[in-house]
């Protein structure tokens, strides 16, 4: 307890934030110890302002810390909520990305020694991003998939956001591996349009089957067509100029299909979920 108390004028100035620094510091120290002056000041305090300040403090204290990918995305202009959804994409976890990079590095390394392996790289390259899309929505790897499916957020939109995130990360990995291929020829980029076409085809198929099945069907078809042609030395049939135009058409067709059906498409839940 103390015999000295803040006078009414000092209380008014402090409450309005108009007290000079010395008075403000003195008043603050005194208020910590004096219940009578705290009672005295309460009548002068704008309760709405206090409430707003308290909410701001609470929000700063317990609001989620943004991970560095989230911070980077927000800096790039992506909305805070979308950045959080991207950051939770299962495929963007380190071990999975390392596995993709490892497989592609091995394929690029093998291509240094044998022409057939060079062609097999082109067979393998689109599978990395494609597998990433499947993993991004696989029941076993996305623990909140079922909760997400019961939420009003568009399943297709979530799938597209995650697909974009997966492609943004895996395509550069494949591109780096492609640059390591022997010779500086068109092969280093020949996988890009097939990847785009296959991804769009898989996404379009999600209207009928689960994302994992859709990717599985598309990937299997790609391998069944391209692997034998690569082994026979006719890979240009799958990635040559004519094929590139075909994949471009598939990518555009798949995108248009998604755009047309975006309000009616339903992401399906597999039995195992």
């Amino acid at each position: 307890m103390t015999a000295w108390h803040l006078d009414p004028e000092a209380i008014r100035l402090y409450a309005q934030g108009a007290a000079p620094p010395q008075l403000a510091a003195s008043a603050e120290a005194h208020l910590m110890k004096c219940a009578a002056c705290r009672d005295g000041i309460s009548a002068h305090v704008d309760t709405r302002r206090v409430e707003a300040i308290w909410q701001e403090v609470a929000d700063r204290v317990d609001a989620p810390r943004r991970s560095w990918p989230e911070r980077m995305l927000v800096r790039l202009g992506v909305g805070e909520a979308t950045a959080r959804l991207v950051a939770a994409t299962p495929t963007l976890r380190g071990p999975w990305l390392l596995a993709v990079a490892g497989v592609l590095a091995l394929a690029a390394w093998a291509a240094q020694f044998d022409e057939r392996f060079l062609q097999m790289f082109l067979v393998v390259a689109p599978l990395g991003p494609l597998a990433g899309v499947a993993v991004a929505f696989a029941g076993g790897l996305d623990p909140t998939r079922e909760i997400g499916l019961a939420a009003p957020y568009s399943g297709l939109r979530l799938l597209l956001i995650r697909t974009a995130a997966v492609l943004a990360v895996t395509v550069p990995i494949v591109a780096v591996a492609g640059l390591a291929l022997p010779g500086s020829n068109w092969l280093a980029a020949a996988w890009l349009l097939p990847t785009a076409g296959l991804t769009c085809a898989a996404l379009a198929l999600t209207a009928r089957v689960t994302p994992v099945v859709a990717v599985g069907v598309v990937a299997m078809s790609w391998v069944l067509v391209t692997a034998p042609t690569a082994l026979a030395g006719h890979l240009h049939l799958a990635v040559g100029i004519g094929a590139q135009l075909f994949w471009l058409a598939v990518a555009i067709g798949g995108s248009l299909w998604l755009a047309i059906t975006r309000h009616t498409v339903t992401i399906k839940l597999g039995r195992s979920a």
């Binding site: 909410q55 609470a58 929000d59 317990d62 609001a63 989620p64 909305g79 805070e80 909520a81 959080r84 959804l85 939770a88 996305d142 623990p143 909140t144 998939r145 079922e146 909760i147 997400g148 499916l149 019961a150 939420a151 009003p152 957020y153 568009s154 979530l158 309000h263 009616t264 339903t266 839940l269 039995r271």
Partner: protein, 286 residues
């Protein structure tokens, strides 16, 4: 008025018939689905949660048709769902995870969303662990996190799949308290294979077995079906469908009692055992 109306719903996975012509109605209060593992409870709840569509039959939720995409979204805006195997991003803190689900529930305005997260965290008693990573929590606490995310947005329909499974007795009691509270003024549909939970919480129940609704009605109506079919004896009766020795040393027999048997009042569990043990039993539908 019924919030949930399921009429003639069937669902198959390949050759397995998970649901076969099931009817269910649920209104405000807690409605329980009772049945053994693999009975079809989860499939029915997934249909009510709009996660699965039935192969046949009609479903109306909150007065809307979930087979229509626009109405399905409207239903989901007023729906909370706790799946049986609710998964978590284990690296997230409790707050971060619930915040993530809040984004999926289209709460995009950051401040309002965080206020809502804080509300459900307080509602489920998670304040003290709000900043902890989910992987560091006990199973009971994780289940609470699952309930908290389901309560986001104060949903009019709450679908809870085995909410008390794996919880110790104290946690189960606390969960019952929370579910009971949640059932005041909204519709809760929950599944369980624990008759104690159903007895304690539910005003209506549906017993699901082998994909079919074997009984729908109140717990008292189900219990009444076992009247005159439970008796005590000094030994296990050959006529009993099920019999077990109680703590007092006497055998509790459930089935068709012999003449002169010492009949005792049945419990919901007795009635459930009789229903499960007698596929041909004629059941009432009220």
């Amino acid at each position: 008025m019924s919030t949930v109306r399921v009429h003639g719903a069937s669902k198959s996975f390949g050759r397995t018939k998970a649901l076969d012509n099931v009817d269910l109605e649920a209104g405000p209060g807690v409605t329980g689905l009772l049945g053994p593992n693999g009975a079809g409870k989860t499939t029915l709840l997934r249909i009510i949660a709009t996660v699965l569509a039935p192969d046949r039959g009609q479903v109306t939720l909150l007065g809307r048709d979930p087979s229509r995409p626009d109405e399905r979204t409207a239903i989901r805006e007023r729906l909370g769902y706790l799946p049986q195997d609710a998964g978590f991003h284990r690296g997230f803190t409790v707050f971060e995870f619930i915040d993530y689900v809040a984004i999926l529930k289209q709460m995009t305005e950051r401040r309002a969303r965080h206020d809502e997260v804080r509300r459900v965290v307080a509602l489920t008693g998670l304040e003290s662990v709000s900043a902890k990573r989910i992987r560091a929590l006990s199973g009971g606490m994780r289940r609470r996190v699952g309930l908290a995310q389901a309560m986001l947005g104060d949903p009019a329909l709450l679908v809870l799949d085995e909410p008390t499974v794996g919880l110790d007795p104290e946690q189960r009691l606390r969960f019952r308290e929370m579910i009971s509270h949640a059932g005041e003024g909204r519709t809760v549909v929950m599944s369980s294979h624990q008759t104690e939970d159903i007895t304690a919480l539910c005003s209506r129940i549906a017993v699901i077995h082998q994909g079919q609704a074997r009984f729908t009605g109140t717990p008292a109506e189900l219990t009444a079906q076992a009247a005159g079919r439970v008796w005590t004896d000094t030994q296990r009766s050959p006529a009993a469908l099920a019999a077990w020795r109680t703590g007092e040393g006497a055998y509790r027999n459930v089935g068709d009692p012999p003449a002169g048997a010492e009949l005792i009042p049945p419990t919901l569990e007795d009635a459930y055992l009789l229903l499960m043990g007698e596929p041909e039993l004629e059941v009432s539908h009220s």
